[in-house]
């Protein structure tokens, strides 16, 4: 009986098994399509502005701050265990996004690490390079500024002190050599902090050289070397050079420089085109005493200057900048030459000055404390339209004052008396 019961149970079990085997079990399988993947990203930017460029790498100077941004997909609000940032494997921050500076020079890997609810770790990295600009000593270099007599026909060595304060990066120097006409003779990048110029130079010439230093991230040194030197003369010849300008801050002048020997005989004359300043250069000169007379041909108000010098030792004597001064103010006269003038529809005055053109903006006209702006200056004549009706009704003299500043800002003030057409008895007899 019991055996029969067990057989029945087994049979029933087989039947149930055959039925369940035919069940569609697919609906109980894991469907990865229904799961939303989680991933994170990290970036850096310079401002919180939405339009600002976000990047995975950047190069900054020590102390510069950056904004570190993280993104969690599908959302930062999903359940997580922890999130944090590391710099070179050490804890950096515990925020999603933050602003922070990095002071230590070097290449840094900064990682955003996100541990989700299930303990899975997700991360993304940004790479930040911190580099200081290179150092350049702007005072100690070879040859020193203003060196004379450098041989024009042999190799010339230049050297300067440059270094990387971080002792991490390669640095290179940008060396430029120009002649006095600003023609570039050398424009090169150097790995070493020295340069040898092998070509010939012109004798008795001024040459200028500049150095800027960069590191491998193109960060430029804060300092620049700008220096000049002079080549020697052949057979003891000399030269003299200088710059001439004026006390005027805007005028264009024809400068004249005359070179005289010790007997005051003219050796050479230099006449510049119209310009604010001019550079003169006389060579070759034998050793001896000389005079230079600097003047302005078309502006005799500028007082000429005479400079004595002695040329010797195959050198280029560079004179200090010569500034010609105009200390003579303009003269203001009426057409008649009198200070008392008759009232007319247009008053006319003559402004005489030999220190360069005077613009209208430097002329002020006042009539009885009222400023008149409707005047016009043509050549040396000042035209002032005048409403004479008001003056005609009055029997007293009226004052008109002119103030003129010439090109060198020398002031002239002159008051004229406007004579009425009616007299006191005529007015009061009415």
């Amino acid at each position: 009986m019991a055996i029969h019961f067990i057989k029945s149970i087994a049979l029933f079990g087989l039947i149930v098994l055959s039925i369940t085997a035919c069940t569609d079990s697919d609906e109980y399988l894991f469907n990865d399509q229904a799961i939303e993947k989680i991933f994170v990203s990290a970036a850096v930017t310079n401002a919180f502005d939405a339009d600002n460029l976000k990047s995975k790498t950047d190069t900054i100077q020590p102390g510069d701050s950056l904004i570190f941004l993280s993104t969690v997909y599908p959302s930062k609000s999903i359940r997580n265990r922890q999130y944090f940032w590391t710099i070179d494997g050490k804890l950096f921050a515990n925020e999603f996004s933050f602003k922070k500076n990095i002071d230590i020079p070097g290449e840094h890997e900064i990682a955003f690490i996100f541990v989700d609810f299930f303990g899975d770790t997700l991360s993304d990295t940004v790479n930040i390079t911190v580099a200081s600009p290179p150092n350049l000593d702007p005072e100690h270099f070879i040859p020193v500024n203003g060196t004379q007599n450098l041989a024009s026909d042999s190799a010339l060595n230049f050297a300067w002190n440059a270094s990387d304060p971080d002792s991490l990066w390669n640095i290179y120097s940008h060396f430029v050599l120009k002649n006095s006409n600003q023609d570039i003779l050398v424009d090169t990048l150097l790995q070493q902090a020295n340069y040898t110029y092998f070509n010939k130079l012109d004798p008795l010439q001024k040459y200028t050289w500049t150095v800027n230093v960069y590191n491998e991230f193109n960060l430029k040194s804060n300092e620049t070397i700008t220096s000049s030197f002079f080549t020697n003369g052949i057979n003891g010849e000399n030269a003299v050079a200088g710059t001439i300008g004026t006390s005027s801050d805007y005028g264009l002048y024809k400068f004249k420089v005359i070179l005289l020997d010790s007997l005051q005989d003219t050796i050479k004359t230099y006449l510049s085109p119209k310009s604010q300043s001019a550079h003169f250069y006389f060579k070759p000169l034998t050793s001896g005493r000389y005079n230079i007379v600097a003047s302005i041909e078309d502006a005799p108000d500028f007082k000429p200057q005479t400079i004595k010098f002695y040329a010797n030792s195959s050198q280029v004597l560079e004179l200090d900048s010569i500034t010609l001064l105009d200390e003579t103010p303009a003269k203001i006269n009426s057409l008649s030459g009198s200070d008392t003038i008759a009232i007319q529809d247009t008053l006319r005055f003559i402004i005489t000055d030999f220190g360069g053109n005077i613009p209208s903006s430097r002329i002020s006209v006042t009539y009885e404390k009222n400023r008149i702006n409707s005047f016009r200056l043509s050549n040396d004549t000042l035209y002032i339209p005048f409403e004479k009706q008001a003056a005609l009704q009055n029997w007293s003299y009226k004052l008109i004052t002119l103030i003129v500043h010439d090109a060198s800002y020398n002031p002239t003030r002159k008051t004229f008396y406007l004579r009425p057409n009616v007299t006191f008895p005529e007015v009061f007899s009415e």
């Binding site: 007599n149 050297a159 004595k308 030792s313």
Partner: protein, 224 residues
Amino acid sequence: MAGGLFSACLDIPSPPKDTSKITGVNVFAKQFDNAIEAPIKLNSSEDAELIAEVTPSKHKKDVQYYWYNGEDILDSGATYTVPTSYMASSFISQNFIPDRLVIEDHEGNTLETSFHVIVNNPPQLLAETIPANGDTLYGNSHTPILFSWQSFDRDESNYLNNTLEIDGVRYNVGDLQEVMQSGFAMGRHTFRIFVEDSMGDQDSSATQEFFVIDTVRAEWLSIL
């Protein structure tokens, strides 16, 4: 049969000797009173010592030291002296400076380490310089003065970095050995040369002095 099994299990190895506690051996050099760790670089102008160092150091007297060059034993002892004569040429240094150290305890256990010794010839400066010591030079502050010297290195592949020190101010002039400098006031001035090779070995000149007399200014004043 059971007895055989038991006897096999009873064959316990003997306890290790003390020398088995030495965990490592290292070689470093001593020169100019400085310890030089690997890579060992020796300056050929000064005697040096190679020194064996066992870890832990309490066993240093319990072992024998054998210095090898290839398969040849050069010497024994905890130190190996490298006189300058062994560094005079690359042929000698290759054959008389060890490249391997074997230590052996009284049980015959051995431990060895290989190393490489770099012999660097230091740079040298010739004593003659321009200006020579005590020279008197004529000119003014714009007159360039030639500074010239000769530095060299027997290791021809070495880059020499020269530094010119004038009146206490150093100018790194790289591989240049001749520069023109001006800016000297009347009176006494000094200069020195330093040279360093790419291995860090150096040489320097004695401080030289020179005097500048401003004849240009004197002539100028006399004429005016």
